[in-house]
């Protein structure tokens, strides 16, 4: 039994305390407060809303672990969506076939990765602060997208894309399956692969990692490339969900993804943080939104409550640290 507990603890890590506690609190609060909360409908809506924010959060997570940030995620997703939309339209718009979709998706992921490569190269070779590099990339991509679309929507996609945005397989929404797949990949990357290992190490002290004979520049470039590619996946899912692409779509998610990372116990300075607690944090955020929705509030109130939740978790962490410290002092 203790072995199982230890194994679970090893899998989840100390980061789990915050989001786990928040999950419990949200379930109990809304479960008691609203009879419809613990229902299929709530979980259905969470399951459909989770993936967009979730995929973008995964894109944010890797740079945050290296002690950076990628502020260009939402517009990278838009540009990737535009790439796919362009390929589909070149191949007949609503009549485009699955081959065009596959080709377009590959190109979209390539476009996302390219934005990551550029940021990664600048960050790795000039040591410019990632916040600035990704910020200027964000401003550039926003401009590029608005230039290409003149601020309008791009729509008219083949109908076989519908299920990707709205369909279910065995009762599981397709976007959720895509998201969980990506969570699994990220988990594997961070726990079982050299790149993931070095990502954490770089987050704590990049120079010491370089002195250990590791190509830190390559790691940084790969981290931002993967981040860009994950944005593209988010962009493709968003295209299917809304059946259109508009530059600025999902813009409001930008800072929420950072919030979700911190809520999931990721160290703001980098070096520490796991995928699963971040996943739980995302579920908590969506449950909160759905619960508040049931009680008649809108998304904006949910946004505010998300902010309050982050502060509450940080204060609890602070208090827990204090109590530990005092205990040690006494003992």
């Amino acid at each position: 039994m203790t072995a199982i507990v230890n194994r679970t603890r090893a899998l989840l890590g100390p980061e789990m305390a915050g989001p786990g506690f928040a999950l419990l609190a949200v379930l109990i609060f809304f479960g008691l407060g609203s009879p419809q909360f613990l229902s299929r409908a709530t979980f259905g809506s969470v399951a459909f809303q989770l993936p967009e924010l979730g995929l973008l959060t995964l894109a944010m997570l890797l740079p945050v672990l290296t002690g950076g940030l990628n502020l260009a995620i939402t517009f990278t997703a838009n540009i990737a969506g535009l790439t796919l939309a362009w390929v589909l339209q070149q191949n007949g718009g609503v009549d485009a076939g699955p081959v065009a979709f596959l080709l377009g998706s590959l190109l979209a992921i390539g476009a996302g990765a390219l934005s990551g490569v550029v940021m990664g190269l600048v960050i790795a070779y000039t040591r410019a602060h990632p916040i600035l590099v990704s910020l200027s990339m964000m401003i550039f991509l926003r401009g590029l997208g608005e230039f290409l679309t003149r601020g309008g929507d791009v729509s008219g996609f083949p109908s076989f894309l519908q299920p990707l945005g709205h369909g279910s397989i065995l009762g599981f929404p397709v976007p959720l399956i895509v998201f969980i797949g990506c969570v699994a990949i990220w988990h594997l990357l961070l726990t079982r692969m050299k790149l993931g290992f070095n990502t954490y190490m770089i987050g704590s002290n990049i120079e010491a990692v370089r002195y250990s004979g590791i190509n830190t520049r390559k790691v940084l470039v790969l981290v931002y490339t993967l981040s860009g590619a994950m944005c593209a996946v988010a962009g493709i899912v968003m295209l299917a969900r809304f059946n259109s692409v508009r530059v600025g779509h999902g813009e409001s998610y930008l800072l929420i993804t950072v919030l979700a990372c911190f809520l999931g116990g990721v160290n703001p300075f980098g070096g520490f943080g796991r995928v699963i607690p971040v996943f739980v944090a995302l579920v908590v955020l969506q449950l909160l939104a759905s619960g508040l929705n049931l009680m008649g509030a809108n998304q904006h109130l949910a946004t505010a409550v998300w902010g309050i939740l982050l502060i509450a978790v940080m204060i609890l962490r602070f208090a827990a640290g204090r109590i530990k410290f005092l205990k040690r002092k006494k003992g």
């Binding site: 594997l188 726990t191 079982r192 692969m193 050299k194 290992f197 070095n198 954490y200 190490m201 704590s204 002290n205 120079e207 010491a208 990692v209 370089r210 002195y211 250990s212 004979g213 590791i214 190509n215 070096g271 520490f272 040690r328 002092k329 006494k330 003992g331």
Partner: protein, 498 residues
Amino acid sequence: MESSPEPLLSLRNINMTFGGVKALKNVSFDVLPGEVHCLAGENGSGKSTLIKIITGVYRPQPGAVIEYDGQAYSHMSPVTAQSSGIQVIWQDLALFPEMTVAENIAFQTVLGRWPRLVNYNSLRKTAARALARLGVKLDVDLPLKDYPIAQRQIVAIARALVGEAKLVFMDEPTASLTQSETDHLLEIVRTLSTSGVAVVFVSHRLAEVLEISTRLTVLRDGALVGVYPTSGMTQSRITELMTGKTFDQTIRARDVSGNPVVLEVEGLSRPGQFEDISFTVRRGETLGITGLLGAGRTELALSLFGMLKPRSGAIRLEGKPMHFSSNRDAVAAGVAYLSEDRLSLGLIQPQSIADNLVIASLDRIISRGLLSDSRKRDLVAQWIADLGVKIGKQDDAISTLSGGNQQRVAIAKWLATDPRLLILDAPTVGVDVGARAGIFDIVAKLADSGLAIILISDEVPEVYFHADRVLHMAKGRIANWFTPRDCQLQDIEAAVYA
């Protein structure tokens, strides 16, 4: 004692506990006006805790008596300590690199609760006056970051003078200075002392302790060992007092000239840093390299490790010429380099013991294409046992270990890469005197197992007692070769400090 003047500072019955551990046990400490007093002890002996109590950063447990300049206190506060003339020059200097030299020196004048206008003219004058008192000329309008560490040290001392200091604490002030800079600093300390300022010198460099101070207070494990006059003290006696152990050192040097050559360096140059360096290291040999800070030792080591590119000359490993374009090539070729700066370059302090140990040899813990946690644990456990590292859990942060144990992990990290040549750059920096012997036991074992080792140290006795041959570098060139079996320690020291 009867003729000695009233102490400027007198502490009695000082106790301090952190997290259940007694950091200071009933310690007393006196400083006489104008004396140079040395506070010696290993890391964790309570030296810095004591300084922090005197300067008001910590509060001692009730019952403490602090008398300073004729007044009694139960505890100090940073403000009272500073305003009554107690100044500290911290090891990290606590300076402000982006601000000008003038502002750094005359920083006191911008303190205070309520905003006032800054008078830059008087600021500059104050700074210039303080520097003049030390006999130093610096451009006070330049930002401090434009000056090297030695000058920053002087700025920190000048700042202490502005505060009308009566008592100055210097925490490891010579740790990053070259010999001539150290000499200059010691000169300044003497100037201060003759002008009536008492200086308490905290240093692990025993030679300086003997040279500069008149009295010596030794702490061990948070308790007072004793107060001694420095005249008649020897380095080994101080070491004994600090560690409570006796060390009899024997020369390890052996003749390994029959072994095959591992590393051959020929005419290696990097203008401005080192020139025309040629030597060989054989299997099982420990080559000592010594010389003053700035002699080009670390730059030479980094060139052998592929992190700096030599302008000319050749490096051959087991006869094959090597052209490293990065340290990855060097590691692949079997070269390992233990950094002199363990805290910021050698180990990744916040991360776990296990991760620090495997970072350079991740390929060894891969099974079926993925990193294996169980392989990692086995590998770590094996090295921990082999090198006798004392740890709690493998997942604890490396920063929770003592300096000696951290250094063992750092050595293990490189041994795990299965090197042919191990370069140890200042392996005992920040390691307690008592734990150093353990590190050298490991080095000896490694050499016996056939590893070629380069041991770099600016502490001449270390290379004298532990290396087979000693290379003395000065101003980037090979100045002398010594064979410890055929010379005295004093011969090398005389050459190095000439």
